[in-house]
C-alpha cells in the first residue's frame, strides 16, 4: 500500500495549481475551488466461511467547481495527467458558460484554519495530518485482513460465517480562489461478520481508526454466541413492546436522524422534525457529531469538507434539547447560519448530513454491579445493565432495510435482524423470530420514553466507508412492532 500513499503536500500543490489554471482561462473574476482526493479502499469479504471476494482499489479524484458571471458548474475527473486536468478545466468552463443562472450561490469560504482534535495537534496552521492518523492501518496488507477473517471463522467454532474486514486510507487537499488552503488524511478499519446456525444469525461489528483494535477471534466468538442463543425462536404477536436496542440497532437510529432529521436542507425546507431550542428528546439524550476523534479515538474522517470548511464537533442535541442542524454553505445561507462543515459531493441536492454521530453514553457509576458476563449470553456488554432492569420486553440486536414513510415525523419501517430475544424479569428467556416495525424515531426518543442508556460506547462502521457511529445500548419504553417477518 506504500505506493498508494500520496506525498505530503503534493495534493495541496495540485489543488492550488488547478485553481490558478482555471482562473487564468476563465478570468480573474471566476471563483474557483478544487479538491484533490485520494482513496485506497481494500476489503476482504467472506461467506460460507471462505474468502470469496478480495478487492482493493486506489483512486485519485480531482473536483473543480467554478462560479462565473452568476453561473456555477462542477466537474470531476480521475484523469490526473496534464491532458486530463486541462480537459477538466476546459469542460468546467464550458459548462459554467452554458449553465442557467445560479441564484443560490453562497460564495467561497475565506481562509480559515482547521480545528484540532482534543488530543492531537496539527502539524501546522494548514494541516490536519496528525489527527490521530494510524500509519499501520493506512498501509495494511491483504494478509492482515485475511488473518482477521481466519480468526473470525475459527472462533465461530464450525458455524457458517460471513462478513468482511476493511481498511481505508484517504488523503485530500482543498484550495480555493479566496485563499483557503487545507489538507488532511485519515485511516479507518472495520470488521463486520455474522455466524449462522439453523436459521439463527448472530452479528459482531466494530470500527476503529486502528486495524490493530480489531480482533477477529473476539468478534467471531461473539457472533457465534449470539447465533447459538438465537435457536428455537418463538413468534410474538405484533404490538408495542419495551425494548433494549443494542449498539448496532442504535446506529440505525443515528443514521436516519442524521440523514433526515438534522439535515440542514431538510430543516430549511420544513421537511424535518427538528425545532431548534425545543425539548424534543428525553433529557438523557445528547447527540454530537464528532468528525475529529479524540485522544483515544483516531479521527474517523478528513478535517474539512468538500467546500474547505473545517470540521469540528457539533452538538445537535444536548440534554434533550435540539441545538443545531448540519449545514453546508448553501443550506447555511438559506437559513442565515454558518456552514458546520458538512458539505459533500451530494449535499446541494440531498442536504448536508452528519457522518460521525455519537449518542453520549451514560456515566458508568449509574449502573448496577452485575456478575461477570456469561460468554454464552446473547446480550452485548453495553446492554447488560439495561436488560437487567427490564421487566418484560425485547432485546433487539440490529435493524435492517429501514426506510422512511414520512420524513417530517420520521416514521420508519424496517425489520429486526441478527437476533431478537424476549426478556422477562431482567433475564433473556427465549429467542424471538424477526419482526417488522413501523415507528417514529424521534417519538421513540421523546421525553419520558428513554428508560436508560448504556455506559459502554461501541464504534460501528456504516456500509459506506467514511461514515461511523458511536453508540451505546438504549432502553426504550415503547417500540411499535407491526408484524412477524414470517407473515
Amino acid at each position: 500500500m506504500t505506493s498508494d500513499i500520496a506525498r505530503t503536500g503534493a495534493e495541496l500543490e495540485l489543488a492550488a495549481r488547478l485553481v490558478g489554471l482555471a482562473r487564468s482561462i476563465a478570468g480573474p473574476t471566476a471563483e474557483a475551488e478544487v479538491t484533490v482526493r485520494h482513496d485506497a479502499e481494500a476489503l476482504t469479504r467472506f461467506a460460507n466461511s471462505m474468502i470469496h471476494q478480495n478487492v482493493a482499489d486506489a483512486t485519485t479524484t480531482v473536483q473543480l467547481r467554478l462560479h462565473l458571471d452568476g453561473r456555477t458548474a462542477a466537474a470531476a475527473t480521475t484523469l490526473t495527467d496534464p491532458d486530463g486536468l486541462a480537459a477538466l478545466v476546459e469542460r468546467t468552463i464550458a459548462a459554467v458558460r452554458l449553465s442557467p443562472p445560479d441564484h443560490l450561490w453562497p460564495g467561497l469560504i475565506p481562509p480559515t484554519p482547521l480545528h484540532h482534535s482534543a488530543g492531537y495537534h496539527g502539524s501546522g496552521e494548514r494541516s490536519g495530518l496528525d489527527f490521530g492518523f494510524d500509519e499501520a492501518t493506512a498501509r495494511a496488507a491483504p494478509g492482515e485482513r485475511a488473518s482477521r477473517v481466519r480468526d473470525f471463522v475459527r472462533a465461530a467454532g464450525g458455524l457458517e460465517t460471513a462478513g468482511y474486514c476493511r481498511t481505508v486510507y484517504s488523503s485530500a487537499a482543498f484550495a480555493n480562489s479566496a485563499g483557503q488552503s487545507v489538507e488532511g488524511r485519515a485511516a479507518e478499519a472495520a470488521m463486520d461478520g455474522i455466524a449462522r446456525l439453523n436459521g439463527s444469525d448472530g452479528v459482531a461489528r466494530l470500527a476503529s481508526g486502528r486495524l490493530a483494535d480489531l480482533d477477529g477471534a473476539v468478534l467471531g466468538a461473539r457472533a457465534a454466541a449470539k447465533a447459538r442463543a438465537g435457536e428455537r425462536q418463538v413468534e410474538l404477536p405484533p404490538g408495542r413492546y419495551e425494548v433494549v436496542l443494542e449498539p448496532e440497532a442504535v446506529a440505525d437510529l443515528l443514521g436516519n436522524l442524521a440523514a433526515f432529521g438534522f439535515n440542514g436542507k431538510a430543516w430549511s425546507q420544513r421537511e424535518s422534525f427538528a425545532e431548534l431550542g425545543a425539548d424534543q428528546f428525553d433529557p438523557s439524550i445528547t447527540l454530537v457529531d464528532e468528525p475529529l476523534g479524540s485522544r483515544s479515538e483516531p479521527a474517523p474522517g478528513l478535517p474539512f469538507d468538500v467546500e474547505g470548511t473545517p470540521r469540528q464537533s457539533l452538538v445537535l442535541v444536548r440534554d434533550g434539547v435540539t441545538k443545531a442542524v448540519t449545514h453546508d454553505r448553501l443550506s447555511a445561507a438559506a437559513a442565515g447560519a454558518e456552514s458546520t462543515g458538512h458539505a459533500s459531493a451530494g449535499s446541494r441536492t440531498w442536504g448536508p448530513t452528519a457522518a460521525h454521530l455519537r449518542l453520549e453514553a451514560a456515566p458508568a457509576a449509574t449502573e448496577p454491579v452485575l456478575p461477570p458476563a456469561d460468554p454464552t449470553s446473547p446480550t452485548a456488554e453495553s446492554a447488560r445493565p439495561l436488560v437487567a432492569r427490564m421487566g418484560r420486553g425485547l432485546l433487539i440486536t440490529d435493524f435492517w432495510y429501514t426506510r422512511v414513510l414520512d420524513q417530517r415525523s420520521l416514521v420508519v419501517t424496517g425489520l429486526t435482524r441478527n437476533g431478537v430475544w424476549l426478556v422477562e424479569d431482567g433475564e433473556v428467556t427465549s429467542a424471538v423470530g424477526n419482526m417488522r416495525f413501523t415507528q417514529s424515531y424521534p417519538q421513540a426518543l421523546s421525553p419520558g420514553l428513554v428508560l436508560g442508556i448504556g455506559s459502554d460506547t461501541v464504534l460501528l462502521p456504516d456500509r459506506w466507508s467514511g461514515v461511523r457511529y458511536a453508540a451505546p445500548a438504549l432502553h426504550l419504553a415503547s417500540w411499535n412492532l407491526t408484524g412477524n417477518a414470517s407473515g
Binding site: T44, Q53, A58, T72, T78, A146, E271, L415, T438
Partner: protein
C-alpha cells in the same frame, strides 16, 4: 482508440503471477446530472472517470485490483496485484471454483441513441428543469424538485478465455417531484416516478416524459392528498399501478432469484433468499398469470447490454413460467457451483468495482386485461401507485411498501383519493394472489439498486403492468 492492449497486458500479468484465469475491464465513463428546485437550478455536476479493474483466479480464490491509470506499466502492476490478493484469499479457502462457458469471442455492441444526451446544451436541459419545477411551484407545490442524470460508458473487456469485447452504453432519465407541507406531514407526487424514468436511450427518452405538462397535476394531487382520508387498515383487494409493481418485482423477485444470494455469498449484508435450489423447476412462486423473464436484450430498457461484465452474450431467459420458479440470475462461478449451465447477469458499477450478480431487465410479461377492466371487475378494494417507501427482509419474503397515492375502488369504479397508502405481505403468498394482469407494460428503470461490499449501485429494468392481488393487508401505520 481502443484499450484492448492495456487490458491484455493486465490479464497476462495476472496469469504470469499464477492465476489460472484472469479478466480485465477498462471503462471510460462520463456522467452528468442537474437538479432544480422551485424554478432555479440547484446543482450541476459532471465527471469523467477512466480506469482498469483486473480479476484473477488463483486456485479456488479470487482477487481484484483496480487503478485509474491506463499505462502499460500500471496495467501490468494491477494484474500482478490482483493475483497476489487472490493468493492471500487462500488463507481462508473454499471448495474448488469452476466457470461455466461464456461464449468467448470478439464483439462490439452499442445501445441505441437518437439524441446524444451529453451533447444536448446545458441551457436546454436546465431550462427544462427550471420550467418544470416552476410550473409545479405555480400550481401550488411548497417544494418542486427536478432531476436528470446521464451516463455514457465505454468498456473494453478481455479475458484469458479469449474475450475481446467493447461496448458503448448511453443511459439517461429524468423526473419531477412536487411536495406540499401539511400539519406535521408531507405529501408528494412524482412524475413519472419518484426517481424518474431511465433507460439505455438518448435524450429522446426525457423529451417523451413531458415533465412541464405533467408538473401542475403533480402539485394539485399532492395538495389534494393533504385532505384526503387515510388509507383504511385491513385486508382488501389491491390493484397496483405499473410503476409500483416494477419495484415489487425488483424487491421480491429480482433480488430473490440472484444466485449469489441463494448460495449465501451475500448473507452478511444484502442477505440470502427464501428460494432453495432443490426446488428450482417445481416451486410455485405465484399464480399462473405470473411469468417473469430475465431479458437484457430489450431495446432501451435500463438493464440492457450486449454482453455482461464476464463476456456472456445477452440472452432472454425465463425466471418464473406459469407461476413456477424456473431460473436465476447467475454468474460464471456461481452457476458452476449450482450445477447450472448459464450465466450472463454479472456487472460492476465501474472499473473500480468487482463484477457481481446483478439484475438486468427482470420483468413481468403482460396479461390479458387493461387497468380499466381490472378496476371495473373489482367490487371493493384499493388502487395504489408510484412508490414512496420500500422495505423487505433479508430473505426477500416480508415486504412493506408505501405509495404516493391511493384511491378506493367501489363497485367497479375509482372513488375517493386516499393518503398514505401502504401494503405489506409475504412474497409467494402475494404473488399467488395475483388474479388479474394488464397488458399495458412499461419497462421502468431503477438507477439506484444497492448491493455489494464495497457498495455498488446498479441500473436495472423492470417491465411491469397494473395487476390485481387479493387478500392484501393495507394501511400499516406507526
Amino acid at each position: 482508440m481502443d484499450h484492448f492492449d492495456e487490458a491484455c497486458t493486465a490479464v497476462q500479468a495476472a496469469l504470469d503471477a499464477g492465476a489460472r484465469y484472469a479478466d480485465a475491464r477498462i471503462m471510460l465513463r462520463r456522467t452528468e446530472f442537474m437538479t432544480a428546485r422551485d424554478g432555479d437550478v440547484e446543482d450541476l455536476g459532471s465527471s469523467e472517470s477512466a480506469g482498469l479493474g483486473v480479476r484473477a483466479l488463483v486456485g479456488s480464490s479470487w482477487g481484484f485490483y483496480a487503478v485509474p491509470d491506463l499505462s502499460d506499466a500500471a496495467a501490468r502492476a494491477a494484474g500482478r496485484r490482483a493475483a497476489q490478493i487472490a493468493t492471500t484469499s487462500a488463507l481462508v479457502p473454499g471448495p474448488p471454483t469452476d466457470l461455466v462457458p461464456a461464449g468467448a469471442g470478439e464483439a462490439t455492441w452499442a445501445s441505441a441513441c437518437e439524441i446524444d444526451p451529453i451533447a444536448v446544451p446545458l441551457s436546454v436541459k436546465g431550462d427544462l428543469l427550471v420550467a418544470a419545477t416552476a410550473a409545479a411551484k405555480s400550481a401550488g407545490a411548497d417544494l418542486a424538485e427536478g432531476i436528470y442524470q446521464i451516463w455514457d460508458t465505454r468498456k473494453w473487456f478481455v479475458s484469458s478465455d479469449g474475450h475481446r469485447i467493447d461496448q458503448h452504453i448511453r443511459e439517461c432519465g429524468a423526473g419531477l417531484t412536487a411536495s406540499v407541507h401539511g400539519d406535521g406531514e408531507i405529501q408528494r407526487r412524482s412524475w413519472p416516478s419518484h426517481r424518474g424514468q431511465y433507460g439505455t436511450r438518448g435524450w429522446e427518452l426525457v423529451d417523451e416524459l413531458d415533465l412541464v405538462a405533467n408538473a401542475p397535476r403533480m402539485a394539485e394531487e399532492a395538495r389534494a392528498l393533504l385532505t384526503a382520508p387515510l388509507c383504511p387498515s385491513g385486508e382488501t383487494t389491491l390493484v397496483l399501478g405499473g410503476e409500483q409493481l416494477a419495484l415489487q418485482i425488483h424487491e421480491s423477485v429480482g433480488h430473490a432469484i440472484e444466485l449469489d444470494r441463494i448460495l449465501g455469498w451475500e448473507a452478511a449484508f444484502a442477505g440470502t433468499s427464501w428460494l432453495d435450489l432443490n426446488q428450482l423447476g417445481s416451486l410455485r412462486y405465484g399464480s399462473e398469470l405470473m411469468n417473469i423473464t430475465v431479458d437484457p436484450t430489450i431495446p432501451g430498457a435500463l438493464g440492457s447490454f450486449g454482453f455482461d461484465d464476464e463476456g456472456t452474450p445477452a440472452a432472454k431467459r425465463d425466471a418464473v413460467r406459469d407461476g413456477i420458479w424456473v431460473g436465476v440470475l447467475a454468474g460464471r462461478d456461481s452457476a458452476a457451483v449450482a450445477g447450472l449451465d448459464y450465466a450472463g447477469s454479472v456487472r460492476s458499477d465501474g472499473w473500480a468495482r468487482l463484477p457481481m450478480v446483478r439484475m438486468t431487465n427482470v420483468g413481468l410479461e403482460p396479461g390479458p386485461h387493461t387497468l380499466d377492466e381490472i378496476i371495473a371487475a373489482t367490487d371493493d378494494g384499493v388502487f395504489m401507485d408510484v412508490n414512496r417507501s420500500w422495505s423487505i427482509d433479508d430473505r426477500r419474503l416480508n415486504f412493506q411498501f408505501g405509495c404516493e397515492i391511493g384511491y378506493e375502488i367501489k363497485k367497479g369504479r375509482l372513488g375517493r383519493m386516499l393518503r398514505n397508502p401502504t401494503y405489506t405481505g409475504i412474497g409467494p403468498k402475494f404473488w399467488q394472489s395475483m388474479d388479474m394482469l394488464s397488458s399495458e407494460t412499461t419497462a421502468w428503470g431503477t438507477p439506484n439498486c444497492g448491493k455489494g461490499q464495497p457498495g455498488q449501485v446498479g441500473h436495472t429494468g423492470h417491465p411491469a403492468a397494473p395487476a390485481r392481488f387479493s387478500g392484501v393487508r393495507v394501511g400499516v401505520r406507526a
